[in-house]
Symmetry: C2
DNA sequence: AGACGTTTAATTGTCTGACAAATGAAAATT
DNA sequence: AATTTTCATTTGTCAGACAATTAAACGTCT
């Protein structure tokens, strides 16, 4: 692909050309790209410009670089773990920057989570159950901050998702689950509400252990409704406070 | 956040520092970052290094830049549309580079899609239905290539997902749905199989129109099973061909 | 011949300094 | 007062340099 040297986004064009080559399979995994000097000659740009393009690709985990005699830039085999972070960052910012309501985010998260219920019920291992029960136990500890409670909640739900034993699902849901955390942090979890949530969590773990997909699904629905209710209370209280001013 | 000037990844460190500032809210949407010259002074690095860091952030749509007197780098309000492309690219590469089987990808896609069924059945608009029926009609045209058939299939399913009217769900599922396309392309769709798939599609559109979530769900399950069957046939045929050699 | 240092070439990472292009603000002109 | 010109700021790009790293090539000694 040719680039337009008069456009003021040469590095973006070059990055796109290389990205397209990777996507189309012209560049294979672990294949070495030409050196920066060769690329700058090929595209008729300077080395800094080539480097900016390569950094763009590196930021997307499409390439990795290595110094030294046999070094260079290599097409990176992007792993699910690499993609999680990116996915979570983007999802979190999407929610916060586009004023996505708690209700909408919550609906998405639980709708997708419920999709895992049948698979998780069928495939959960002892490890998954242990993780979930450990998190439920942590959630019951007195003196736990709201933030730590939320973090544990996320860990519980990620274990549930991972129990479906499908890496594609785990990847897609990582964003939906983790991105909820900042929104959840607006809630102050009373002892009573924590108790109730832990009850749901225990029910879910029990149902998973019993391979009872139906109960997992209905409990998740109940948990979704309750979470929404808690958030709605906060929103209503804030509105009332504003009114009082 | 301080950076270690002896590490050979200065631009990555600087990018991380700025990314963290955005994530934590220290930098607000549309806020202007210091100029490249100021940043290079602040971090004690050269301007090219700062620029590499900014390009990394630009690649993630976290900032945008503008030339001129009042120009600079600004925190970007990342839109869902911006994120789709990135999401699809990453998902597609994840599947192809990690040898994710058709079955696993298909399971994920349909599990997540079925999660939208109740919402889509409740909220579908005439527009969504029209799009879906138009795609079903396109799929019935003779002379359609397999690739075009797949593309139309993706468009149909994206309309279904969008009918759930939840931007978070649409975003998450864009990856799962679009990333399947390269895998689907291995299938040769016979006239009979196309007919059958179009039948499912029509059934889904009808059920959505009737707000019948249950039928949407069961039809999606049937479609998932059939798609898997087609792929399995290809895989078996290939195995047999290998055996014959 | 083979094991073990040494040198060397290739490559990325970083820096310096420069100029072009865009752009809005300030200054000058009508 | 309106319009044009000038100017300062900032990003985009380039050229050239040196440091750090790395593996291969080379030499040396046993």
């Amino acid at each position: 692909m040719k680039i337009d040297p008069n456009s003021p986004d040469l590095s973006a064009q070059i990055a796109k050309a290389i990205r397209d080559a990777i996507m189309s399979g012209k560049l294979l995994v672990d294949e070495r790209l030409p050196s920066e000097a060769e690329l700058s000659e090929k595209f008729n740009v300077s080395r800094p410009t080539v480097r900016e393009a390569l950094k763009r690709l590196g930021a997307q985990s499409l390439i990795r670089t290595q110094r030294g005699a046999t070094g260079g830039a290599f097409v990176n085999r992007i792993k699910f773990e690499d993609a999680y972070g990116q996915q979570i960052t983007t999802s979190t910012l999407l929610l916060s920057m586009n004023d996505v309501s708690f209700a909408v985010a919550c609906e998405a998260r639980y709708a997708l989570e419920r999709a895992c219920a049948p698979l998780a019920a069928a495939r959960r291992t002892a490890d998954h159950l242990a993780t979930m029960r450990a998190e439920a136990h942590r959630q019951a500890q007195p003196g736990l901050t709201d933030e730590a409670f939320c973090a544990s909640d996320v860990a519980f739900h990620r274990a549930l998702v991972d129990a479906a034993d499908n890496p594609v699902i785990s990847y897609q849901l990582a964003g939906a689950v983790e991105a909820m955390q900042p929104l959840m942090n607006m809630i102050t979890f009373s002892a009573r509400s924590r108790e109730k949530i832990i009850g749901f969590h225990t029910q879910i773990a029990d149902a998973l252990e019993a391979h009872d997909a139906k109960t997992v699904d209905t409990t998740l629905a109940a948990l979704a409704a309750y979470t929404n209710e808690l958030a709605q209370n906060v929103i209503n209280a804030r509105a009332a406070a504003r009114q009082a001013n």
